[in-house]
Amino acid sequence: METLAVKNKKIARKFWEAIWEERNLDRAANFISDQIVYHSPKIEVHGKEKYIALVKGYMNVFDDTQISIEDQIAENDHVFSKILFSGVHSGDFGEIPPTHKRIRFQLMNLLQFIDGKIINEWVVYDELGFMQQLGMELVQKEHAH
């Protein structure tokens, strides 16, 4: 019999394929609980509607996206994944206009499931490396402008 951990790993994979390969948000939405909470170092997003709006925002930034799951560990209701994200920067990202460059960055992700749906997501990603690929750089505050 398939364990819960194995089932959840498969759902995680399907979920990301739906978003980043099929670009089918309706399909992805099936895997999200109404009470989902998304936690990144900078933001916390509560509820399915806001979560989907966030994902849609990222989808508008990138074309031709691929997710490669390099490693995965699951235990009961949690799935950890080490991921390489790749996409062409084809839409505005905040104040940064499209560079049409292929961007690659690493991320680590933890999903928690309840009844086959994602209830919590924690993400850390190489935000600095990502922003540098978009042409940004870090400077001391007093030296800027």
């Binding site: 900078k42 950890f80 680590m108 924690w122 190489d126």
Partner: protein, 145 residues
């Protein structure tokens, strides 16, 4: 009986404790393999001697450090950890001289263990968030001087 996964979790806890609580390089060194590889986005550190030097540099950068394990899962040969790090920046970090600021950042870590020793470590932490706490900001390259 303790499973291999549980043993691996304990080993990682002991490693963090060796680094951040006891600051005992010998205890820590006994847990890592000669050919260890430590990977952060954009950085690869190879071999025990280089790895230990990286740890000593972290010690020189942060005092009053606290490494909190928020969540952990393990398999036969891998341990994933989500953590929060707190410390006071009392030494240089990258190009930033000591600010004496208390900083806090989140990260995730994946460690591979072979024959009771750490052979590989992949880590992503909120480096951008840390640099912002140290007084840096992101600007467009053409705007910076």
């Amino acid at each position: 009986m303790e499973t291999q996964a549980e043993k691996n979790k304990l080993l990682v806890k002991k490693a963090y404790e060796g680094i951040w609580i006891k600051r005992d390089i010998d205890q820590f060194a006994s847990l890592i393999a000669e050919d260890i590889t430590y990977q952060l986005p954009g950085i690869v550190i190879q071999g025990k001697a280089n790895y230990l030097e990286a740890i000593r540099n972290y010690w020189n950068t942060f005092e009053e450090a606290q490494m909190t394990i928020e969540h952990q899962m393990a398999t036969e040969d891998k341990v994933y950890t989500r953590f929060t790090f707190r410390g006071k920046q009392t030494g240089p970090f990258r190009d930033v001289p000591a600010t004496r600021k208390i900083i806090r950042f989140e990260g995730m870590d994946l460690i591979q263990i072979t024959d009771g020793k750490i052979t590989k470590e992949w880590e992503i932490f909120d480096e951008l968030g840390l640099m912002q706490q140290l007084g840096l900001e992101l600007v467009h390259k053409e705007h910076a001087h």
